[in-house]
């Protein structure tokens, strides 16, 4: 189960498990968001490479328009996956 709430000001709250099936569904919703974006991951329990690809694509798209993607409140196991993939060297994580 995965859910995503988009709030004004570019705050996006992710919750549940972001697997390959859910990443396919979330792609269009995230592509519609412009400006600086903060992903609140406090309730994100799981992410796989499909979710990481989604974040990387979004980061590159925002960067090309002079904006940034920020990840906040990562749970430790999700943070591990991001670190394994080396995205901690690319994405802004707080």
């Amino acid at each position: 189960m995965f859910s995503m709430e988009v709030e004004p000001g570019g705050l996006v709250r992710l919750a549940g498990r972001l697997d390959a099936a859910e990443a396919d569904r979330a792609t269009a919703d995230l592509a519609a968001i412009d400006g600086a974006v903060t992903l609140d991951c406090s309730r994100l329990e799981y992410v796989s490479s499909a979710g990481l690809s989604l974040m990387l694509i979004m980061h590159k798209r925002l960067l090309a328009n002079g904006h940034a993607l920020r990840l906040v409140n990562l749970q430790p196991l999700v943070r591990n996956v991001i670190n394994y993939a080396g995205l901690n060297r690319i994405l802004q994580i707080e």
Partner: protein, 135 residues
């Protein structure tokens, strides 16, 4: 040992996770190890779905608690050989401009498992990962 059969579709992930969650609960697998098994199995299964569309309709998955280890096996039938354990490692130091989506899944499998094996016989690929429960 417990076994399930999954249709060759990304939509089968939900059923795969339900099966894994049940195994985890029945065998007292700690959550951090369950997380790693979930990740490894998703990456391996989605690879089979994406890169072997020619294969049989169903992919077999087996889970076994063996002492302090969990062995997870995916078996794909009627496919060409591709040894996933020899896939090139991604360049994690590459700048953002040259980072491309994809190519990360098998690297993650290596990161979260303690053993990763591939066997090919009679047009069948068998991938087995081992997760130590105390690692």
């Amino acid at each position: 040992m417990e076994e399930c059969r999954l249709s060759r579709s990304i939509g089968s992930l939900e059923g795969m996770f339900t099966f894994l969650d049940g195994f985890v609960a029945r065998n007292g697998v700690p959550e951090d190890a369950a997380f790693d098994l979930r990740l490894a199995l998703e990456e391996l299964f989605t690879n089979m779905v994406k890169y072997h569309p020619e294969g049989a309709d169903q992919i077999h998955m087996r889970l076994e608690r063996r002492g302090g280890n969990v062995l997870a096996t995916l078996q794909d039938f009627d496919v060409e050989s591709f040894d996933v354990t020899t896939a090139p490692r991604p360049d994690l130091d590459a700048p953002v401009e040259s980072r491309r989506p994809g190519g990360m899944g098998l690297h993650l499998v290596r990161c979260v498992t303690d053993d990763f094996r591939y066997e090919y016989r009679d047009r069948s690929s068998t991938i087995t990962v081992t997760k130590r429960l105390d690692s």
